[in-house]
Amino acid sequence: MRGVLIDGSPAPAVGQPVAGAVTDTAVPFDPAVPWRKSPSVALRPEPFGALVYHFGNRKLSFLKSKPLVAVVTALEAHPDVPSTLAACEVPEGQHRAYVTALATLARSQMIERRPEESA
């Protein structure tokens, strides 16, 4: 959306995409490593989910469901994506869709790989 109103180059809205939807072939997203919401990103709660803003690259995006907001927020507290989804009680059947959504967020740098925790 570019815009008076709204200019800028927001990343595409991130919803609960159809499982298996392939949107990009660039860097593969690795759900097995620790992730977190980027420290430069703010989440603003909205009735449908959240508005996501990256203060660094000034990209704007949207999370289209509240469970997805919960997952993005919880990433930090878990060692990988599957355990985050389990902790957030996301039904097994939706896991692939969530991984796809997280991959989109990773590409727009809204979430990032967590630096290795010191042992």
Partner: protein, 408 residues
Amino acid sequence: MTAVLPSRPAERPAGGKLIDQFEYGLDAPICLTWELTYACNLACVHCLSSSGRRDPRELSTAEAEAVIDELQRMQVFYVNVGGGEPTVRPDFWHLLDYAIGHDVGVKFSTNGIKLDAARAQQLARTDYVDVQISLDGATAEVNDAVRGTGSFATATRALENLAEAGMKDFKVSVVVTRENAGQLDEFKALTDRYGAQLRITRFRPSGRGADVWDRLHPTQAQQRDLYSWLLANGDQVLTGDSFFHLSALGEALPGLNLCGAGRVVCLIDPVGDVYACPFAIHEQFLAGNVRSPGGFQQVWQHSELFADLRNPQTGGACTKCAHFDACRGGCMAAKFFTGLPLDGPDPECVQGYGETALAARDLELVTPRSHLDHSHKGPVRGQPTMLGLPSIPAKLCDESPLAGLPLS
């Protein structure tokens, strides 16, 4: 106040498309326009806010800071600052720093009058600020006819200063008119020359724009050319999502194809009044004032007007049109200030329904006028000549009292 608005259901659906969610509004605007002053050194013929003279009731520095504090609390991540000419406010540079320091990014529009080399360097050093230089012609001739003599030179000097200072991603902001619609490639070339980005937006019959709309709004043929141009160049050009009415020509344009007024955007004017959108400075679209109890948040979240605007349109002529999903009925302000019903076609409807509607207006109809007019009362240096178009008839005394007189 709500009588003319289309009737709508009130329940927000769960899930679905984002654009449908936006129709029901957000807890805070995605971004908003904030006009800091009605004062302006220019007297552009199409000024959307009829600016010129400062209003004595304009927000003080402390009040403006309080608005910024509130925007930070509401997580409004950036504002589009304009005017008037915002940089003529003596506290402009202070407020810019204050906003940036409070996580409210600023994109400001200026005619370039204050952007000397030193200011350009200052801006180049500042993160989180965007600058838009207004230019309404790719040549001095076309630009100065609507913005005033010398305004092209002022704007291009500012562009040079910004480029020289190493400023990144600054914008050249163009309102597309009948006079400059044929210059899009030239605008692009000019913008590229400075390493800037082109931003083109739609001309609305708002403010003094209403006085010249008939003469300056693009023709249907120009709109079709513009649409093709945007499809070909859209990736590199910003539009403020302002041309969504063109989507009814076929493929949707990139961006938010929806009127965001009172839903995802709004305007705070120099005296703190909150309107549904920057093109709607009229009592009909006045939702409240930031000075009242509860401030901006109260207005945004609880004004009756905004509640009315936050429902999808279900009635009116447009909802029966095959293209309604593409254009969503077009621009509310454009309809309002041309005297058309808000649930009917946009005056520039690309399917031609707007022209029919304009022709069917009651001959006695007086189009709505804003209650505000801060236009300069006397002549302004470099006053645009377009008001006299097609051309000011040469008067005998223009050059010399004796010019043109048969003296023999």
